[in-house]
Symmetry: C2
Subunit: 380 residues, 2 copies
């Protein structure tokens, strides 16, 4: 097998133009040239987030964005409702506890989406809840939550709705303002199609008002400082120039394509994966599958850890396995980033070859033809 | 004027090989290929820091590293002695206050280095001081402090010695262990010669013991979590793959050259700049000039802000101006990063041309010849 393929739920394959931009000679972040780029990026991020409010950038991974969301809204002792349906839900709940929140966990079976009525009930039972935390897509289970309905419910309460959209924002439709999201986070190495290193975050007016006086100590992630600098056309600390230059390209490109069509392209990849998985007798793990990543249950008795390693070593395909309780049981195939039809056909073909190696009865060539045919028949 | 030159005290010009590495196709950070790179980088960072202890990486700017140093050692209410000799000293003091420290500022005139006896006196007068904060090089004034002597003094007290080495570590000799430094920070876009996006930080055994129980809430910058992951061959959160791949190259290269020779190369650039500045009648701003960046006082009456802008616009040379109280009064020329002799000659030539444009009596061609001759006569 020849060319390596990376279809993980982040980091993702880079557009060739992005690779080129990343290798450009360095420029300083306090120059007229960079000022123009920064101004354009800050403007175009609003389109990506579907908000009229300011979108901020941190030099951090997505987890830094999750921390920023908390430290900019939380007062020590605040009551927080955390929807925990996987590894990242658990991380956010733990993080809130570290910063002094009293966290009530709403545990959801892995692979299922939260029942909005459960959230409504929890909010009614405890009017002291100040923040509700939820993943738009819980990456560890490839499950999307019903953010729209949750937004409606939470907007009627006193709580703020904080949404980790790291594997969702820019991958499928989450109109921040329209859906009453108070804080929305994105990560560069996911639907934003860049390397790891930038987290993006926006606040509703309601959330911003609270952030102005929230008492959790913060400095690196203090968005009050960042806003002041952004208003002067700068970032508060050094700007990661190559990433922001590449972000400029990605945002301009998405605007040209339009979000609507961009989302359709991702949906097509998700549909394709589900369809061909069905051909291969692989079941979907999630009952509410996300358009950004698909989790497939491996055949019973198959050693999933070995399988994923073999797929990588022998077939040069990197997809992710399961984490924690799902270790060895599922594989997760990402739909974000620079993905050509060839990548998808090849991935399914090699997946079938590898399944065959592991004793599964399957015809890889048939899978390859089916894959190719499906993509030709389903253009966006 | 043709090719642009960037001689700022970070971000710096990139080695062509680094540019190439940054544009490589993405790989996942949980792959055997990346595991090997990470292991090598974590090992080689010890050489850069001149420590036997573990060196950590954060996906953040240098300011994130400064925050990490604090939140991993500080208990709310702790007394902290902050040496403030410029903008970054002030930033660190302010940051410590945000996280609940009682900060005593030891203010030093900008451009001067701190008198170690003043630090000794302060520690004697207040045995409750838990941390001493100092820049190795205060970037805003291009001034280096006597870290070796300070380390000796502070190691005899109960306090930890926290050193911001962001424009120093890897630029000149600061042997962490030998000089009794408890926490040392570096930044990727400075002497590490990469784009902005990584901060590096190491702890002495004494500091690490304190960090294990320090009570400041922390998650993103929690090094206890990071150590646990590093011991498993991973980073705690996503790894910025291109930066770490490029760091691998830079560290390997510095090891090949040896730190000793690498430091001599930077010292040569600093010596050159001071020598030619003398030829141009430009005085050094600092009485304790750093080898990583040189600040030159602009002629009285010359509009420094306009001058720097003209140098950039007409002559394509980016150097930095002064900040805060030094705005318009100095220019700062960096010595870190990928700098060829041609870059240095050209910078001095264009600087002279620009000075002439602003009415200074100077012979740019003579400066060019002098520059070239000096570099030929002073090889490393």
């Amino acid at each position: 097998m020849s060319n390596p393929i990376l279809l993980a739920p982040g980091p993702v394959q880079l557009h060739p133009e992005v690779q080129k931009i990343l290798s450009q000679p360095m420029i300083h972040h306090r120059t007229p040239e960079f000022d123009q780029i920064l101004a354009r990026v800050l403007k175009n991020l609003k389109y990506l987030f579907q908000t009229k409010n300011h979108v901020f950038m941190h030099t951090s991974t997505g987890s830094g964005g999750m921390e920023s969301a908390l430290v900019n809204t939380l007062n020590p002792g605040d009551q927080v409702l955390a929807i925990v349906s996987g590894k990242f839900g658990e991380r956010w709940a733990e993080m809130a506890e570290v910063f002094g929140a009293k966290v009530q966990r709403l545990n959801v079976e892995w692979g299922k989406s939260v029942d909005p009525q459960e959230v409504e009930k929890a909010l009614k039972q405890n009017s002291e809840i100040r923040l509700v935390l939820c993943q738009a897509c819980e990456t560890s289970t490839a499950t999307s939550h019903d953010i729209r309905t949750l937004g409606k419910i939470i907007s009627k309460s006193n709580a703020l709705f904080l949404v980790d959209g790291i594997t969702a924002t820019g991958a499928y439709d989450i109109p921040m303002d329209e859906w009453h999201i108070d804080v929305l986070i994105a990560g560069s190495q996911k639907a934003v199609m860049l390397p790891t290193g930038l987290s993006l975050i926006a606040f509703s007016e309601k959330a911003w008002k609270i952030s102005e006086t929230a008492k959790t100590p913060r400095y690196y992630f203090d968005l009050r400082k960042e806003l002041k600098s952004n208003k002067n056309g700068e970032t508060f600390v050094s700007s990661p120039v190559p990433l922001i230059r590449a972000l400029d390209y990605v945002l301009t490109r998405i605007q040209e394509i339009t979000l609507e069509k961009h989302f359709k392209q991702l949906r097509r990849r998700a549909d394709f994966t589900r369809e061909i998985a069905h051909e291969m007798n692989l079941k979907l793990f999630s009952s509410s599958p996300s358009d950004s990543v698909t989790a497939l249950v491996l055949p019973a008795g198959l050693n999933g850890v070995q399988f994923r390693e073999e797929l990588e070593k022998k077939y040069a395909v990197t997809v992710m396995g399961g984490q924690d309780q799902l270790k060895g049981k599922i594989i997760r195939i990402g739909h974000m980033g620079y993905i050509l039809d060839d990548h998808m056909v090849e991935t399914m073909h090699r997946l079938a070859l590898c399944l065959k190696d592991f004793g599964v009865s399957i015809d890889p060539e048939k899978i390859k033809v089916k894959s190719s045919d499906w993509l030709k028949a389903n253009q966006v």
